[in-house]
């Protein structure tokens, strides 16, 4: 008899013990994606020093896959150079979670979008500083 839960053990682990959940005070960048109408909202906080992501935290309103994707994304980001972070795709997030059900792939896409939004915010802030 197979008792297969739709989520992998890794998804459940990151859902029940999310890593890096919370806010960063005076963040270098903040990314916002989603809206509650489609069920998920993700907010990503980054602390960046010398082009390296020294800290990443998140807050997410969403399903199990959305929370696990956010948590995994922050894990993947910590210690990464910006140019390497830019290369993190939704597939990388889903893969690191040992896969997501097909209907939940959009949750990992949202994680990628949150990252993009945060990095855009960072670019904007950098520009504002130099001007």
């Amino acid at each position: 008899m197979s008792n297969k839960f739709p989520y992998s053990d890794k998804v459940m682990d990151h859902f029940s013990n999310p890593r890096n959940m919370g806010e960063i005070e005076n963040p270098s960048a903040v990314g916002n994606v989603g809206n509650p109408i489609c069920g998920d909202v993700m907010r990503l906080y980054l602390k960046i020093k010398d082009d390296i992501i020294v800290d990443a935290k998140f807050k997410t309103f969403g399903c199990g896959a959305a929370i696990a994707s956010s948590s995994m994304l922050t894990e993947l980001l910590k210690g990464k150079k910006i140019k390497d972070a830019l290369r993190i795709s939704n597939e990388a997030v889903a893969e690191a979670l040992d896969g997501l059900p097909p209907v939940k792939i959009h949750c990992s896409v949202m994680a990628e979008e949150a990252l993009k939004s945060a990095l855009e915010d960072w670019e904007k802030r950098k520009k504002a500083k130099t001007e």
Binding site: P36, V41, R43, F61, C63, G64, I105
Partner: protein, 407 residues
């Protein structure tokens, strides 16, 4: 007390399926010890024995809804019953109108989009903010072309009970056939098809403690329908194919068992539900209860929360061994092929829940076997989960910041 409860499952998802009644399990197990033939083989004793089991169950199901035995037709469940009632009744009528409410089960609603029924016009009755259909609205909608009205007895998601007798009366006055989907209601509220004057009614075994995969359609003697498929004389030719005898045996036993619970324990079940509702109301902020506050299924508690998402709440409840349901789109179809297979609850939007909040809906469907201790455990467990998810929610964070600014 708490430790004892935490080690076992607290099952509160009766609306999806009730746990099988011990009486049904026993009847099925006993049946499996027998050697029976095909119930249609009326000529030999093995066939007659099988037919006897079906007749007994037919009597038990007729009894709980006040029908006669020969008005009960076994099916594979309420979904088939709903399809048989509508498609079977419309067959050969070529055109006309069908009136349904906007909070019907998908097995009713989706028939609107069936190309085979393209000649018929489906008209949709709105419900009020408590999820109740108005008999006056129904009366106004009926025209000379109306063939059939199909309205649920009670809604599984928000628990509201329709003014079933009044709706049937309106249909009788206009000589329109009335079908009622009673899947979540039989065994939990008193129903008498003759007193109400309903022509067809769908019943499900699984929501009253019977096995999954079996149900029945009541059809009164005035109403004639065609079968959905062809093949044999089973169920008076209306449902060809050898009957699911084992399932029917369990269905009958569960129905008989729940009849006495309905008579003796429905007040206790209602109080238990009320206790859970009050516990949630007193301990958790930002909660809105759905459905009619009083005219609702006993033991049915449904609500939505502004800042947290239903699937996350269900997963956390499940980790605490509490089993519940959500109208959340996110959890609607986890086995679908992509996100377009997820859909938000049409019932919640119908009663005016803002679409952005539908995802936070939860339904607790309590059953007769649930205990005070179990409900205490839920009331103790739920607030921590909600607060934890609120703490993770950027929507809640924005709300708190906004509140600070206003203070």
């Amino acid at each position: 007390m708490l430790a004892k409860i935490m080690n076992k499952m607290v099952y509160l998802d009766r609306m999806a399926t009730a746990l099988m009644a011990p009486e049904a399990k026993k009847a099925i197990t006993d049946f499996l010890q027998e050697n029976v033939g095909n119930p249609s083989a009326h000529i030999h004793s093995a066939g007659i024995a099988a037919d006897g089991y079906i007749s007994e169950a037919r009597r038990q199901i007729a009894d709980i809804i006040g029908a006669s035995d020969d008005e009960i037709y076994f099916t594979s469940g309420a979904t088939e019953s709903n399809n048989l009632a509508i498609k079977g009744f419309l067959a050969g009528k070529n055109s006309g109108e069908i009136i349904i409410s906007e909070i019907e089960h998908y097995s009713i609603l989706d028939q609107m989009r069936n190309p085979a029924l393209a000649n018929y016009r489906f008209k949709i009755l709105h419900v009020d903010s408590n999820g109740i259909v108005s008999p006056d609205d129904l009366e106004k909608m009926i025209t000379a072309n109306t063939l059939l009205v199909s309205i649920n007895v009670a809604n599984s998601e928000i628990g509201s009970i329709q003014p079933f007798n009044e709706l049937a009366q309106v249909c009788q006055n206009h000589k329109v056939v009335f079908h009622a989907d009673a899947a979540s209601a039989v065994g939990y509220i008193p129903i008498n098809v003759k007193e109400a004057g309903v022509n067809m009614m769908s019943v499900s075994a699984q929501t009253l403690g019977g096995p999954m995969g079996v149900g029945a359609l009541y059809i009164d003697k005035k109403t004639s329908i065609r079968p959905l498929f062809d093949g044999g004389n089973q169920e008076a030719g209306l449902r060809p194919g050898t009957e699911n005898v084992m399932g029917i045996v369990g269905f009958g036993a569960a129905t008989e068992a729940i009849k006495s619970k309905l008579a003796n324990e429905s007040d206790r079940l209602r109080q238990l539900g009320e206790k859970l509702r009050q516990g949630i109301e007193s301990k958790i902020e930002h909660v809105e209860f759905t459905g009619h506050p009083q005219i609702r299924l006993p033991g049915h508690v449904s609500f939505w929360h502004k800042f947290i998402e239903g699937e996350s709440l269900l997963l956390h409840l499940n980790m605490k061994r509490i089993i519940a349901a959500s109208g959340s789109a996110c959890s609607s179809n986890l086995k679908g092929s992509d996100e377009h297979d997820l859909r938000a609850s049409h019932v919640l939007t119908a009663v005016g829940v803002p679409e952005e909040y539908c995802s936070g809906s939860i339904t607790f469907g309590l059953d007769y076997f649930n205990t005070d201790d179990e409900i205490n455990y839920v009331i103790e467990t739920l607030p921590d989960i909600v607060h934890r998810l609120e703490g993770m929610s950027p929507v809640y964070e924005d709300y708190l910041k906004q509140r600070e600014r206003h203070e």
